[in-house]
């Protein structure tokens, strides 16, 4: 058996490039997949940690619609409620840094919420007394270096970006004196009765809101990782298939010499497992590097989009490594299954020459066309009847795979037509020969198609999103300044002060409500030209603004409308109010349901709502000066007054970061596809000599043959690019109209950007030319003796 294994392995010694491509393809596939998984694992661990903060996954909480006055807490304690106060908020350190503060009262904190070990009192005293002490995770400590904060001390188990501090210090830092965010309830203590009105008991929750909100984001990343993995597997499949075909005579010889089919298959399987493990380890190392490079951007995205704190550094998780090796092994076995099956069923007496590997039979193409049609029909069915994010991603997979399988069929048809139309002998040979090369190159071309389509699709989605989002921001952020006053009294004073100085000062008021059985945000909107002229409506009843101001009609956001299949004119009911929908508006970036009522109706329903936030209209040139005056007049901290430009800038920054990861994965996938092309061309170039030598002998120079080889590669890449365009646009449409709607609840209009396609086309042709350069150069530099060997039968 050892001799047989040595004979099998000798093939790789003689074809080191083929072995390198196999290992590289597998390593890259594993790297991209496991890189994405490492990011997801890191984020999920952070969410779990956040969910467990102060034992929230095990403790019930008492909340109100806004902050709870400290007196309420004192009253509850007096009434026998064993509760502990918590305050939460974010304190801005500088332009780039902020810290989430959780203020606790350590003496009343229930046991399951004990996050920090205060020891023998050596930490408790500085914690309780001014200037206080902040406990934070090591990476948070590093990030807060130089910040104007109370002393920081390292503690394990605290989520990244969060600091644990005494409630009194927190109230001071957050400027929320006399207020608490919620109360933690001791699970072991009896409840002395009903809660006073306005307070609500929230049961423990093992999954944080953030985890739920970010599910779609992580699913997107996973889908991209899977696509990259699939593209990488094309290289693996191609290299394994070729190696098996080239060793076919050896397999027969081994069988003829007495090696059983089972032993032979077993040996090949062992060989593959060895390669999978080698490449898997390399892939894991590479994946760790990819994840470490991408994680800071992902963390910034999650913080900006969802307020989710994920550390910017990566931890090594053995489970992740095992899963990475597993997927490398599984990918290898899937890629090799067809070849292994053939070896196991190899007839002993069939001719020993390698099968015409490069010649695709019409039947094989027909089978491929049938599989492609089946997948495209499945995609169509999912488009019509599929529901949910998973169905949307299966639709994407079916569409991409179906189109990829269809590509060689289409290219073969086009080449057949070109061959028929060709006049000269060289042109005729060129097209016929290209057709013959197609099966050998088809996997690489399919990988290129997927990468290009993903590029066009995701690029179109991102650019459409950017265009829509920018326009939407202009509409939504119509006020020149946004004010969040620290308390109601200050807010009233500021409103009076602003009255003669601003064009309009409109309150932004909000309450929590329930609509169609789900929690929703309720806003009150003043009747003003700012809204009439700018608010981004998607569908509306005539006279929408008058109807809204009248109090019997409401606006709902797109997410709610799509989820509940609501349209303008439909009835809608809120606690204490019943009316109709006047319009639906776009509300990108917000995962929650939202309803807007006229401001009078709003206050009739929620008289307790505070008027602390205002939108201020002023001539844009005056905005900065007015903000300065306002800050000076009322000694307002920076974060209470935000100008439109900063808000837009911040929103766009979040947007760009969100797609920075996507762009990076896009480029990596294209790189892998380029490598697949290079691998196939290099491997094929070794098999090309018997096909090229006769043509050379009949009078075509090597230089001309080399030029034709380059032209062939560029033509095939161009054909793939042409096919990728409609596929990419279809992908963009599915992402915008199906995946987005299922994942986030909103649909974006699609815009096309032909200039981007030209850039991508040039890039793809450049990559193809680069991939072909080495084999073509090799051909142009062949010595006559190498070509003459073909005729001398010495190969």
């Amino acid at each position: 058996m050892r001799v047989a294994l040595a004979a099998l392995l000798s093939h790789w010694r003689r074809s080191p490039l083929q072995l390198a491509m196999l290992l590289l393809g597998l390593a890259l596939a594993t790297a991209l997949w496991s890189g994405v998984q490492a990011i997801n694992a890191e984020a999920r661990a952070s969410y779990a940690e956040a969910a467990a903060t102060l034992g929230q996954d095990r403790l019930a909480r008492i909340t109100a619609q806004g902050p709870i006055p400290q007196e309420t807490y004192v009253d509850l304690r007096r009434a026998g409620w064993r509760v502990s106060p918590v305050i939460e908020g974010r304190v801005r350190i500088d332009e780039r840094r902020s810290l989430r503060l959780i203020g606790i009262e350590p003496l009343t904190l229930p046991a399951p919420a004990q996050q920090v070990e205060f020891g023998e009192g050596d930490a408790l005293l500085p914690f309780l007394t001014a200037p206080g002490l902040i406990f934070a995770a090591p990476e948070t400590l590093a990030r807060m270096e130089g910040a104007d904060l109370p002393p920081l001390r390292e503690a394990q188990g605290i989520p990244p970006g969060t600091g644990l501090i005494d409630i009194g210090q927190a109230q001071r830092l957050l400027r929320m004196e006399g207020l608490v965010s919620h109360l933690l309830l001791d699970p072991d203590a009896p409840r002395p009765g009903e809660l006073p009105e306005g307070l609500r008991l929230v049961p423990p929750d093992s999954e944080s809101d953030v985890a739920r909100l970010t599910d779609s984001f992580h699913l997107n990343l996973t889908a991209f990782g899977l696509l990259s993995f699939a593209v990488g597997l094309f290289i693996v499949h191609s290299a394994i298939g070729l190696a098996f075909e080239q060793r076919r005579p050896m397999f027969r010889t081994l069988r003829a010499l007495g090696v059983t089919a089972r032993t032979l298959t077993g040996l090949l399987l062992a060989e593959l497992v060895l390669f999978a493990l080698l490449a898997g380890v390399a892939g894991l190392a590479l994946g760790y590097l990819v994840a470490a490079l991408l994680l800071p951007d992902v963390a910034a995205t999650l913080r900006g989009l969802y307020g989710a704190e994920v550390p910017g550094t990566l931890a090594f998780r053995p489970g992740w490594a095992a899963a990475g090796l597993g997927i490398a092994l599984l990918g290898t076995l899937v890629s090799a299954s067809q070849s292994l099956w053939r070896v196991a069923h190899l007839p002993l007496l069939a001719p020993a020459q390698p099968r015409a590997w490069a010649v695709a039979s019409e039947r094989a193409l027909l089978r491929q066309a049938a599989a492609a049609a089946g997948l495209l029909i499945l995609a169509g069915a999912l488009l019509l009847w599929g529901r949910g994010v998973v169905a949307a991603f299966v639709l994407l997979a079916a569409l991409l795979l179906g189109a990829a399988l269809l590509l060689p069929v289409l290219l073969a048809g086009v080449l057949r037509l070109a061959q028929r139309a060709a006049r000269g002998p060289i042109a005729q040979w060129f097209w016929a020969d290209t057709r013959q090369q197609l099966p050998g190159l088809s996997l690489a071309l399919m990988a290129l198609l997927l990468a290009l389509a993903a590029n066009i699709g995701v690029g179109t989605m991102v650019s459409s999103f950017r265009l829509t989002f920018t326009g939407w921001l202009d509409q939504r952020l119509a006020f020149e300044l946004y004010l969040s006053a620290p308390d109601q009294v200050t807010a009233d004073r500021i409103a009076d002060w602003l009255e003669p100085r601003a064009e309009a000062v409109l309150p932004i008021v909000r309450a929590e409500t329930e609509v169609l059985g789900q929690p929703a945000q309720l806003y009150g909107m003043a009747d003003h030209a700012t809204y009439r002229e700018n608010w981004p409506l998607l569908a509306e009843e005539p006279g929408v603004w008058d109807r809204l101001a009248g109090g019997d009609w409401a606006l709902v956001n797109e997410q709610l409308a799509r989820r509940e299949r609501l349209a303008p004119g439909d009835p809608i009911r809120l606690p204490g109010w019943e009316g109709r929908i006047a319009a639906i508006y776009s509300d990108y970036g917000n995962p929650s349901a939202q309803v807007i009522l006229g401001i009078d109706r709003f206050f009739a329903l929620h008289p307790e709502a505070e008027r602390r936030r205002y939108g201020i209209r002023v001539a844009p040139a005056r905005a900065e000066a007015l903000a300065e005056e306002l800050r000076a007049a009322f000694d307002l901290p920076d974060e209470t007054l935000i100008d439109q430009a900063s808000l837009k800038g911040f929103s766009l920054q979040v947007f760009e970061r969100t797609f920075a990861v996507t762009a990076a994965l896009n480029v990596l996938t294209l790189g892998v596809a380029g490598l697949a092309m290079f691998a196939s061309l290099m491997v094929l170039s070794g098999m090309r000599l018997p096909q090229l030598a006769p043509v050379w002998a009949m009078g075509l120079t090597k230089a001309r043959l080399a030029r034709l080889e380059m032209l062939r590669t560029l033509l095939l890449a161009s054909g793939t690019l042409v096919a990728a365009l409609p596929l990419g646009l279809a992908l963009a449409w599915v992402l915008l109209a199906v995946v987005n709607v299922q994942a986030f609840g909103w649909r974006l209009p699609m815009h096309v950007f032909p200039l981007d396609w030209l850039t991508l086309g040039a890039l793809a042709l450049g990559a193809a030319a680069l991939a072909a350069a080495v084999p073509v150069r090799r051909l142009a530099r062949l010595r006559p003796a190498d070509l003459l060997r073909v005729f001398a039968n010495e190969r």
């Binding site: 018997p690 009949m698 070509l787």
Partner: protein, 229 residues
């Protein structure tokens, strides 16, 4: 051994003077041809014989312009190709020379009809009538639309011969054209080949190990250790 037929210098189709060729190997250069002189006239056929490694194939490749000599002069149809570049030698192969190999070397992506026409069209001398005549004479009419992989060895060699002769080359160079065929098929193919070559009036230089086949040609050139014996 029959004497070598030496042609009249004014009618030389192929002429080699003092041709030397060596190849680099791991053990140093190996001299394959050590000063060969020979001539071939139009319509003349010459067998090139010798033991394995005597330089027969190398001589044929040099005459075809597939490789260049280290020293000496090679003139084909009045053109000195000794110092010619790749393009010039390619033009010579396209227009003047016809090659037949033991391995057939057909173009697998083209059918029989396209293979037959290929070199004639490259040379700009495609004559459909002559091609049809050749296909008929070679017994290929029934398989014109088949691909090389669908043919037997004998059929493939007949296509290779047809492809060469369809271009009406002035010089035909053949390297053991029936070496891959059984004796009966080889004899039949060879008879056809010689008849058709003589019909076109081309000069023929053919490498063979067979004394019997060599006897059917006008003359014979024996190579030994890189020299004409």
């Amino acid at each position: 051994m029959r004497t070598v037929l030496v042609s009249d210098p004014s009618e030389r189709l192929l002429s080699l003077e003092g041709v030397r060729k060596s190849y680099a190997t791991g053990e140093g250069p190996v001299q394959v041809l050590a000063g060969v002189d020979m001539n071939l006239a139009p319509g003349e056929s010459l067998a090139l014989t010798g033991e394995s490694g005597s330089g027969k194939s190398t001589l044929l490749h040099l005459a075809a312009g597939l490789d260049s000599a280290d020293e000496g002069r090679i003139v084909v149809a009045g053109h000195d190709i000794s110092q010619a570049g790749d393009t010039e030698r390619a033009r010579l192969r396209r227009g003047t020379v016809g090659l037949v190999f033991q391995q057939f070397n057909l173009i697998p992506s083209l059918d029989v009809a396209a293979n037959l026409a290929f070199q004639a069209r490259l040379a700009g001398r495609h004559d459909p009538e002559w091609q049809a005549e050749l296909a008929d004479a070679l017994g290929l009419t029934a398989c014109l639309h088949r691909y090389p992989e669908q043919l037997s060895g004998g059929q493939q060699q007949r296509v290779a011969i047809g492809r060469t002769l369809a271009a009406r080359p002035r010089l035909v160079l053949a390297d053991e054209p029936t070496g891959n065929l059984d004796e009966a098929t080889g004899d039949a193919v060879m008879a056809l080949f010689l008849r058709l070559v003589s019909q076109t009036g081309a000069g023929l230089l053919m490498v063979t190990h067979s004394t019997r086949l060599a006897g059917r040609l006008h003359g014979r050139l024996q190579l030994s250790a890189g020299r004409v014996a």
